[in-house]
Symmetry: C2
DNA sequence: CCCGTTTTGTAGGGATCGCTACGGAAATAA
DNA sequence: TTATTTCCGTAGCGATCCCTACAAAACGGG
């Protein structure tokens, strides 16, 4: 009785964090249950009792990542900075997020499930949705820039959104290929150098 | 006697092309031997006799891809165009390469082996080397631009190279997320809008 | 026609995959 | 202490992984 809400014998949050790091480094398909249980310090039955399945564990890990390691990236869009400074800050935050010490290089949302067999489709779709959501937030910030008079009405929001989303996505692969923080920061700065032309209706 | 150089009973080149498409769509780890042999129209023993192992088949498939579907991307750097036009043409070629009809979206070199367990390390490293080679070619083209007087001496070649490499890499994820050709073309154009500032020593 | 060589197809080996049934330990209450 | 409940660790499920041993079929020369 009352066993449902009873606290488990192990630290669920800590175990989830460990699982996140394994998924982050290996990807959904590449992370085996053996490696996950080993890193989490629990046995398979405990994992399934607490998280249901590998897929649900993955989704929870993605949620944790978005709320912690990748949290600052999108929050940069919600402050009082100008539109331009917001985007620049987002790019820099993304670069930093790709290069956390003692963590896998690159963004989990970008690299966590890029390919695989049919059993990975759900994980891929889930990450794809997350990335689409990221794009929607960038677009919303740009739209606010138009409303605030910082950007011209009639600006092609889809194009500008796709450009900055592409830069962020590319940084993750660049990071996993071994780029250092200075390199990624240079990419972020370079991507902003065409701001005036990019956010023009002439483009 | 003379069996070594004897032509095999099936079309090796056609089978390799089919294998390339499976690897391209599924990634190294996600492509099972069952799916590969099915697509290639041969049985496992024939595959191993002709290609040696899954890993060697993958490397041959990557080589074929680089020589065909992705061939035009880097050849854009070797023509008579100005440095600026060469880079712009490369970006557009890359966008087109990510959106070939009846082929998987995104570049095989970017998405073919992003993550996985230890058994995928060799494939990952192989693709990473290919990407590094791509960066080296971009850098060489920029260096030629300096030699030709089109770009300023003292330009930070590493930064500019990393920027354009990042855009190309990002386009592949963008493509796999469902972007259309118009979107990728807009990204390519946007990425060039800051050219003068990006290729300045002041940046 | 028969034989020797090559290629193909079947069937399966050894390992690992995600996942779960079950028996014993620990904890709680009387 | 005993009875009962809750949890955990071992062991193993069926399926699939990459790869290969073996035998039947196809080919070419006498």
């Amino acid at each position: 009785m009352g066993a449902r809400g009873r606290p488990r014998g192990f630290d669920r949050a800590a175990a989830l964090e460990k699982a996140m790091e394994v998924f982050w480094a290996r990807g959904y398909a590449g992370a085996s249950m053996a490696e996950l249980t080993e890193a989490m310090g629990i046995n398979p039955p405990s994992l399934y009792a607490a998280f249901g399945s590998k897929e649900e564990l993955f989704k929870e890990a993605v949620g944790l990542y978005a709320a912690t390691d990748d949290g600052c990236t999108l929050t940069m869009l919600e402050g009082d900075l100008s539109t331009r400074d917001s985007i620049a800050a987002m790019l820099m935050a993304s670069a930093r997020s790709c290069m956390r010490p003692d963590k896998p290089s690159g963004c989990f949302l970008m690299l966590g499930a890029t390919n695989g067999g049919p059993e990975t489709d759900a994980a891929q779709a889930y990450l794809c949705d997350r990335r689409r959501d990221m794009g929607a937030r960038i677009r919303a910030r740009l739209a606010r820039g138009i409303a605030d008079g910082e950007l011209p009405p009639g600006l092609d929001l889809d194009r500008v959104t796709a450009y900055f989303a592409t830069v962020i996505k590319g940084m993750s692969i660049e990071a996993r290929d071994g780029a250092d923080m200075e390199t990624l920061a240079g990419v972020a700065r370079s991507a902003m150098l065409g701001w005036d032309a990019i956010t023009s209706t002439q483009a």
